[in-house]
């Protein structure tokens, strides 16, 4: 077991190293310069145009270590990564990359993780029922509308929801994380206001993805129902509820959990889109802003952070599998 854990940790490090290397070199191929652009923007918007601009820029480049050879920067960068220090944001200096991630993360976790889990639970439950012949017809039909929505991209779903529910019916706010003018505080009012702002983005994310789970679970359910052990459970005179839970759902768990882990990996893609449509703070928005500003320390930081998070989940899943299915032994 110890050997296995070491092996997986080594694997994790390898993933992190390859990801960080790719991430380091790709933005450097761009000829843009974040510091110069920052000053150009300042000059455009505020008329701030210091005479010794070039001197300031080169002193800042020196401060960030950007004047040194690329390979030297790479070694420094790798060392920093190992210390989980992603450095400063170029465009939001003096904020550190870690600061930005820490600020953005709760929003993304709150919305994306919750909706992914919600879609998984709803979809699998409806899918399981849709494939369960004893379920009443109306219950089996509940999955159908979701199946019809399968694959509607969150962009389209988001825009439609914004237009009809937010703009036409004025039931829910059009965007933002909370109402403009309110100050974040630990009160019920603020919490409620925040939740109201999360409803439409959450719906945009959930509605489109439930159908996928319904389909995969229904397919799996139909297969498992044909299995001899489910039939034998009926011969044993077990109650339908117990067969449903211990013989049917329990056996769909492993493949569905694998798919779930993979779905977690695609969260960031959805986050960028949905957070943009609904003007929400979060990892997606932070990454989006960083890409626009060519703020590569932030890009590195976020992408690396996501890579590490997803790789860690995948490695952790490997230790969960044997708990779900005793036939699986961790492979060394």
């Amino acid at each position: 077991m110890a050997k296995l854990i070491l092996q997986r940790l080594a694997f994790l490090l390898l993933v992190i190293w390859s990801a960080s290397t790719i991430i380091f070199f790709v933005p450097r191929m761009s000829s843009r310069n974040a510091i110069r652009e920052r000053f150009a923007e300042l000059a455009r918007t505020g008329g701030f145009a210091p005479a010794d601009l070039e001197a300031i820029i080169s002193s800042m480049e020196q401060q960030f270590g950007l004047d040194r050879p690329l390979i030297e920067q790479y070694w420094v960068y790798l060392g920093n990564i190992l210390r989980m220090d992603f450095g400063y944001s170029l465009s939001r200096y003096p904020a550190t990359v870690t600061d930005l991630i820490v600020q953005a993360l709760p929003w993304t976790i709150g919305l994306l993780i919750v909706t992914t889990i919600l879609a998984f639970l709803i979809g699998n439950f409806l899918g399981a029922i849709a494939a369960w012949p004893r379920a009443p017809r109306w219950a089996r039909g509940m999955a159908t509308p979701f199946v019809l929505l399968t694959g509607v991209p969150p962009v389209i779903m988001g825009v439609l929801l914004l237009f009809f529910v937010g703009f036409r019916l004025k039931l829910l706010p059009l965007g933002g994380a909370y109402s403009i003018g309110t100050v974040p505080s630990l009160t019920w009012e603020f919490a409620l206001d925040m939740l109201r702002h999360q409803v439409l983005p959450a719906m945009a994310l959930v509605l489109g993805s439930v159908g996928g789970w319904v389909l995969s679970m229904r397919g799996m359910g139909i297969t498992i129902q044909g299995e001899d052990y489910v039939t034998f459970a009926e011969h044993k005179g077990l109650t339908p509820g117990r067969i449903f839970r211990d013989y049917y759902l329990r056996n769909t768990l492993l493949p569905q959990m694998t798919a779930f882990a993979l779905a977690l990996g695609t969260i960031v893609t959805s986050a960028i889109v949905v957070e943009a449509i609904f003007s929400l703070p979060g990892i997606g928005t932070a990454l989006n802003n960083a890409i626009r500003a060519n703020d590569f320390p932030v890009i590195y930081g976020i992408v690396l952070f996501i890579t590490i998070a997803v790789a860690t989940i995948m490695v952790a899943m490997e230790f969960v599998y044997p708990l779900l299915d005793p036939r699986i032994k961790p492979q060394t």
């Binding site: 034998f232 009926e234 005179g237 056996n251």
Partner: protein, 333 residues
């Protein structure tokens, strides 16, 4: 081999009919199946593949799934008539009155839970109020009575051999001491030595709980050693039911005769004697007696009139026109 013909039978099946409504048409898989069995009696059920043996077992469990439908008939176990029970009543009757050890026991155990849990949940679904330790003791006793180590309680199905899985299924079957046990080809996937052991196990646990046992199978040799009665099925009908001695020494129905004659013995070693012709498709059954195109004794009446079940001497049932005159009229059970 003494059989208790006269005692009140514990299992009475009367006029059982099952039809599968397939896309190609209706297939009558069970047609007017009638027989009875006393406590402690063992009946072998033989017939070609597709003749309806499993269908009969499933119908008695009321486990025929669409597109199949039970169209009529009754199944009495003691005083309980199964077809008239509610869905919940039938659920409770399964395993506690009538247990079915399925064809293909290899895959009949849940791969992701321990064997013990699968015995315990069977008990818990039928008896309430027993303490967990009492339930566990009962399960361990069942494992012991099929010659399994108590250790098996904590194992998973993939850690067992085929014969062990078969025994686990039998252990589950006897957990609640049912009056009727149906074992569907319990030994077809096993080697001869294990086959014998499993059959002996069934034999012994049958004696322990005095159940009536129906053994479905193809192996006439194994049948001859282990059962009291043999029932022969052909195209959904029981064509002959007789004691094992009568069946082997003096089969009456022409199909049963052909079946017995086709058994290898030392005299005709090396000559495989099949039954000429093919088993009929249930979708296009021949008119009259379904066996008439293959029957060497076929008469005109066989082509036109469907034979009824004839109760002839010594309690034998023969569904054949040749015995219409010998039939003694017995009150229908």
């Amino acid at each position: 081999m003494t059989t208790t013909w006269s005692s009140q039978p514990v299992l009475r099946v009367q006029g059982l009919e099952v039809t599968y409504y397939t896309d190609l048409g209706r297939a009558k898989a069970l047609d007017d199946v009638t027989f009875s069995l006393g406590a402690g009696e063992k009946m072998g059920m033989v017939g070609e593949s597709g003749s309806g043996k499993s269908t009969l077992a499933l119908a008695m469990m009321r486990m025929i799934k669409p597109p199949g439908r039970i169209e009529g008939g009754t199944v009495h176990i003691g005083d309980t008539e199964l077809m008239g029970l509610t869905e919940e009543g039938m659920r409770k009757a399964r395993l506690s009155k009538i247990a079915y050890i399925p064809q293909g026991a290899m895959n009949s155990l849940n791969p992701v839970t321990r064997i013990g849990a699968q015995l315990v949940d069977a008990v818990k679904s039928h008896v309430s109020g027993d303490s967990n330790s009492a339930i566990k003791d009962r399960c361990l006793a069942a494992l012991r009575s099929v010659d399994l180590d108590e250790r098996v309680f904590n194992l998973y199905a993939h850690e067992l051999s085929g014969g062990m899985k078969q025994r686990v299924c039998i252990a589950i079957g006897i957990l609640l001491q049912p009056q009727v046990i149906i074992a569907d080809e319990p030994t077809s996937a096993l080697d001869v030595v294990t086959q014998r052991q499993v059959m002996e196990t069934i034999d012994r646990v049958k004696d322990e709980i005095n159940a009536a046992v129906i053994l479905i199978g193809h192996d006439m040799g194994l049948m001859a050693q282990f059962v009291d009665k043999v029932a022969v099925m052909y195209a959904g009908r029981l064509v002959e039911v007789a004691t094992v001695r009568d069946m082997f020494t003096n089969p009456r129905h022409p199909y049963a005769q052909a079946l017995i004659e086709s058994l290898p013995n030392l005299d005709n070693k090396g000559v495989f004697q099949g039954i000429p012709g093919l088993a009929p498709s249930l979708l296009r059954l021949p008119s009259g007696c379904a066996f008439h195109p293959r029957c060497t004794h076929a008469q005109d009446i066989c082509k036109q009139v469907r034979p009824e079940v004839n109760h002839i001497s010594d309690g034998r049932l023969v569904t054949c026109h040749l015995f219409d005159k010998e039939a003694v009229h017995v009150q229908s059970a």
